[in-house]
């Protein structure tokens, strides 16, 4: 509240025209895409069976979605991941999988909302996730004869992320991220990264599984590895995210229209 009213008439402030993607200034998209590319140089875990390594940028794709919104976030992460495939081939893996995962992580994060007109975007996203899970797990069990327990345990990150996303958890996370408490922001970043990175992993695994069809032995071996990797993404996401969010709030930079934070 202002202590005394200014003499001029208050006007509605809008961003008139200008270069934006879904309300996010192009400059923001470019900067965050560049950050994603830079982090693609840093490996954080090996890819079992295929070789190569995961890029650290996977930990900030959700953050990009929260900063820019679902569409601009997906574009920034997608561009960053695509450039990263070429300039940092040691973390490229299967390029299409890498780019798709980046876009999904940011998109999912950007659709975690507790208010606004896009509150319904979670529904088709959840349906798409369910379809992906059905294709992934169904192919493993029906075509490749992998046991149910191995699929359930091996895809723990995937289905837990999908479940948490479909539940009102995503709204709670959105509130935490937008709130003033730094502790709540950190919690939101951690849990939110688990969900967004987990759903990205689901989509990536579905595509990769249709190419490699790994056997039950591989499923079993991955059971302890995948959750640890996702946890690492969450830890990095919390560390980077809290610094970035507090910094952005401190400098008072204009938010992208569809930003969650």
């Amino acid at each position: 509240m202002l202590s005394d009213s200014p003499s001029g008439q208050e006007r509605t402030v809008t961003y008139v025209g200008g270069a934006t993607i879904d309300g996010a200034p192009i400059a923001y998209v470019v900067v965050l895409a560049a950050v994603c590319t830079a982090l693609a140089f840093i490996p954080f875990s090996v890819i079992v069976a295929l070789g190569g390594s995961f890029p650290l940028s996977q930990a900030i794709f959700p953050l990009v979605g929260w900063i820019l919104g679902p569409v601009a976030g997906a574009v920034a992460s997608g561009i960053g991941a695509l450039v990263g495939v070429f300039v940092a081939p040691h973390t490229a893996g299967i390029p299409v999988v890498r780019v798709a995962g980046a876009m999904v992580a940011s998109f999912v994060a950007g659709t975690m909302r507790h208010q606004g007109q896009r509150g319904w975007w979670w529904l088709p996203t959840t349906v798409a996730g369910l379809v992906s899970l059905a294709l992934f797990g169904g192919r493993a069990m029906v075509q490749n004869g992998v046991s149910l327990w191995a699929v359930a345990a091996g895809a723990f990150v995937d289905w837990s992320a999908l479940l948490l996303y479909a539940l009102p958890t995503r709204r709670v996370i959105s509130k935490w991220l937008a709130g003033p408490s730094l502790g709540a922001v950190a919690a939101g970043l951690g849990l939110g990264t688990w969900i967004a990175a987990g759903m990205a992993h689901l989509v990536q695994s579905t595509i990769a599984y249709f190419i490699y069809n790994w056997a039950e032995d591989v499923w079993v071996m991955l059971i302890p590895v995948i959750p640890v990797e996702n946890l690492l993404r969450c830890v990095v996401g919390v560390i980077v995210g809290t610094g970035v969010i507090t910094g952005l709030r401190a400098i008072g930079l204009a938010e992208a229209r569809e930003a969650v934070i």
Partner: protein, 578 residues
Amino acid sequence: MPQTIATFSNVSYVYPRSDTPALRDISLEIPKGEFLGLIGPNGAGKTTLSLMFNGIVPQFYGGRFFGAVTVAGLDTLEHPISSLARHVGIVLENPETQITATSVENEVAFGLENLKVPRDEIRARIPRVLEAVRLEGMERRHPQELSGGQKQRLAIAAVLAARPSLLVLDEPTSQLDPVGAREVFDTILELNHTLGITIVIASHAAEELAECADRLLLLAAGEIVDEGPPDEVYAQVERLEELHIRLPDITRTFYFLRRRGFSVPELPVTLTQGLAAIRPLMTRCDPTPPEANPATVRRDGDPLISVTHLSHTYPNGTQALCDISLDIHRGEYVLITGQNGAGKSTLVRHFLRLLLPTAGEVTVDGEATPDLTTSALARCIGYVAQNPDVQIFSSTVEKEVTFALHHLGLSSDKIQTRCQESLAAMGLLAVADRHPLSLPRGERARVVIAAILALEPEAVILDEPTTGQDEQGARLILDLTKQLHSAGKTVIVITHHLHLMADYAERVVVMGERTLLRDAPIRVAFHEPNLLAKTYLAPPQAVRLAQAIAHETGVAMPFLTPMELARAFTKGTAAGNS
């Protein structure tokens, strides 16, 4: 009646997440062709006002906006920034925020290409504007290879190239050497006179504003508190000093003379006016030269820092330093000065082993820097970089100041004590819980200085510490360096704001042409204008007035400050003074 290019009608603005208006009830008309100066202390609202001309405030920042701003007939709330940019060119304080291209010439061309200027015209304009800002010959250089001042000049060149009808500059010369600053003012004055471009410039450069501006707008706490021609605004010395606003040296000199009882009907604001006003006084009073005129600086014991035949060439082949030899002793207060790109920062980075010599040797406390670790050197020498943001990474001011202390194995009580002392010395206690990036640039610089001081190093190096500071902020920092010096610390300050250093430095190291041009006591070095000119420096206005007096009287007048100069005139010797 001249046409107006911009109109502010009852404009108030509140940034997001703030309850306090950054600007309040601003009403203003700017006629076409006017040269308008914005003055005021840090936080007065100069930058916010500058960003309103092309709609960045409020369109980009959001927040609450009251009233109306029209530029070239366009309401800045109803027209996109891209449309307003055709009429308004803006140069920001930090050039890093507006340089995007990978070469100097591409940076200049970028804006023109976006405005669809024909290719041949772009090619014709590039050399003209680069020459205007003294960057000719650097067309192919990457902007990141330029010094801070050179980057600022490039940002100005890029905007000048588009020939906007209104040019808004926010502290454009704060990082430039005096001659560079003078050239920028000359350039924009020429654009103003020859092309009729309207100029709005926020600046602490009082002497240049006094000469160039048609009108000054004095802002304080977001409100216009005074406006008028420079001689009227600067005549209110007490009020401006209360607001911590820098005055021209000439004005202060005559203000002090008036206070000493001399008749000064109107305070001059330019050197020309000052020279005209001093002559009648000289006919009635013989100015007395200062008693102390040391030809050498006292140096005891072994040097703390010794530089022997130092040369440095960067990996891209650019030679930054050539055969420099220099000793700095414990307890000295050394000013290192020289033009932008003279190698000042490169030299001091060798003291900290942030760079290693290509040839020659640098020793600290008798040990060659390659044999010392950077952390060991950091305990001995505190370094405050030119851009404070590169040294800030914590989430609160207090955490920033205590960060390094935690790594020294100190007790919690000791850490708290040192932190509180440092924050108090820098006037930051009130913002200890704030995020450093939420503070203005001047205060961010003081956060970094506080963090360095808390370490209690033996020597402190401050690289351009007064850039972006108002008079109060600059004096706060420099007064602290004086205290450190009095306490026996070695102080090294890099700056080309020579007018600020007269009360502080003892010894001046003048660099230029990649080498050391002069190493002399301040009273000697400041009175060698030809030497200073070699490295694009100019003596402070008070020194130039003293030299004019010396020229008239034939007696050396090695004064440095307005107060010294005023004291040279004694009422008792003035016959006929009223």
